[in-house]
Subunit: 422 residues, 2 copies
Amino acid sequence: MVDSVLAAHTIADKLEAARSASRTLSTLTTFQKNAALEAIARDVSAHASRIVEANERDLQRGRDSGMAEGLQDRLRLSTARIEQLSAAVRDIIDLADPVGTVVRGSVLPNGLSVSQVRVPFGVIGAIYEARPNVTIDIAALALKSGNAVVLRGGSAAENSNRILVEIIQSALHSVGVEPAAVQTIDEFGRDGAKALMQARGYVDVLIPRGSAQLIQTVVQESTVPVIETGAGIVHVFLDESADTSTAIEIVHNAKVQRPSVCNSLETLLVHEAAAERLIPAVLARLAESGVTIHADERARQLFPDALAAEDDAWSVEHLSLDIAVRVVAGLDAAIDHITKYSTKHTESIITNDLANADRFLAEVDSAVVMVNASTRFTDGAEFGFGAEVGISTQKLHARGPMGLPELTSTKWVVRGSGQVRS
Amino acid sequence: MVDSVLAAHTIADKLEAARSASRTLSTLTTFQKNAALEAIARDVSAHASRIVEANERDLQRGRDSGMAEGLQDRLRLSTARIEQLSAAVRDIIDLADPVGTVVRGSVLPNGLSVSQVRVPFGVIGAIYEARPNVTIDIAALALKSGNAVVLRGGSAAENSNRILVEIIQSALHSVGVEPAAVQTIDEFGRDGAKALMQARGYVDVLIPRGSAQLIQTVVQESTVPVIETGAGIVHVFLDESADTSTAIEIVHNAKVQRPSVCNSLETLLVHEAAAERLIPAVLARLAESGVTIHADERARQLFPDALAAEDDAWSVEHLSLDIAVRVVAGLDAAIDHITKYSTKHTESIITNDLANADRFLAEVDSAVVMVNASTRFTDGAEFGFGAEVGISTQKLHARGPMGLPELTSTKWVVRGSGQVRS
């Protein structure tokens, strides 16, 4: 179903083809990009049975090799999930196109008109695990922002990813967009991942998605600039003046509402002057919801059902119904703890003290800092970006929830009438 | 003249001290930072004779080891140059402080107030060559943007850098700012540079300044995110409709006004239909100013005084009064040439054809693209940024001339009243 040129021979061929496709992609109108996305949404739905079939081969191989149930679930593409994927692509059609946005501009004293304009990166590389939904997701986000994309998914999803990329390429071809704009290098295995990480000059930015270990490897080995979407050891600090019911509700929501995601609460810090008032009520509410509590000695005195905190309790991202609890001497001790253990994702203070709120917001060095709000709000959709490109925990280029504009660069456009520099 | 704590023992101690200093630095007011800069400007002037003395030891060592005249000149700090350094620090006082600027913000439907605010990176690492003026320059820019900085200058400038950092630290101390905010690791030699490039978690961004080779090494070896300030193989394309006198003036200005800098012209492309009209006049004007012309065969037919272009003529950044000249079939051929050989710094088209101007601006993928203007305008001061942090040729975080805002990251500040996610 795809052009024979696309059965490219080497990784270098594929990277070259992606780079070449990125040149035409960057000049497409929003209408043309939306038409491509609509064709992808249409074809993903239309070929659901073929996708399920390919996915079943991956799942069978997974079962044969003893893949864990949780990983199988992330790998699985049912007809219902394929419909959701198709719907997600249509949601991206509705997002504003960042390309061409003028970020700033002025006319210089010499009459030169200077403006900084959003442009696509060019080629985005994505390295991720055996979650074939990411294939569609990243491809659609890249296309909408005018970028070509080279995908390297987990080898356990190879058949699923291959058919998905074939469908995308065929859909692109049907609307006159260069199919090489979306490519997979899964067939090259580890060599492919290595080549992608060293493809300076061909790949403009690399986005790893998955476990902390995967991200660490990419950061270490890549010479291409990386946008790191990191783990979340997320803290809530209950200050002396925290309102009891606010504390109970926010801690419960931050821990229990969806414990498997990076913005969920991992470590609760409690001001010692409020520990007696807050700890029994806050932890009882968590325990009711089945949360396992790993607490320091002082907290266990106030809530004896808690387990003793392990040595590494403050450094663990559970992503499960587990929470670490520590009583601290006050705001300074809380900030010190966060500075030492946080992954700089999201931290929230529950307080009615304005000066303490301001200090927490100023001194905690995380992508998102909050007062009296659940950490679960750190999310592209909640922030109004529409789509979730990921949550950056680095400081360069993008920090916190990323929307489509974070998948673009800028260029300076200078219009003159013969000006020279004196 | 400096606290004994500052005579830190290991690279790790210094990095830890810089990280710790960055926490207090990030909360200083603009007044406090300006007072620190004023103290530095004052003390650099006051200690000019000590600086000249230390610099003379570096120069003597350079002469003894046969250092080239040009490198000696870049290393030299005369009293006049020290006064210029001091004045440059005072110029930075006048720049707007980017920290605290609200980039965007809104109130979400649930009442959460969300704003994205500029914050310092934290710790900036700088790796550069034996140019001691960079020591003062980077330190002042880092301080104004609320960042601590760890410096690794060229070993040939070790004595000069040591005294400059001592003066800076003493000046900081005198106004109550943590002296560890500015550190040098020159004494650790290559080990220091290596440690800096691997200091993830301690250093937030690394800025290499110097030769293409230095930058390449840092990009390859660093696990800390790098802002690449690259070389400039800069092109001007004379389109068929280019006005003759505009072409003559802009090419002359772009090549001759200051050939040693990255925004100067290296390769001139000429539309074949305008070659007969433009080449003799444009090249004659260059030759008058002592420019050596390396031209392809067609251009030499029209300007016989030119030398034959060497095999690598299109890939060389001369940074001297040399220019490569090529006649091309038209706009497409010009864009293809630029795509192949450009370092994506600055390119300019000279034309009166609106459609061609628009295509050039859209399709040339460089940090700065121009119509009818000299490439020499790619410059922070010319763009109105006041200071020159460097010109980024990468696409992540910053592209083109960088001002103080490019030395900052952002954080999201969320203010609620008990909101939880449903």
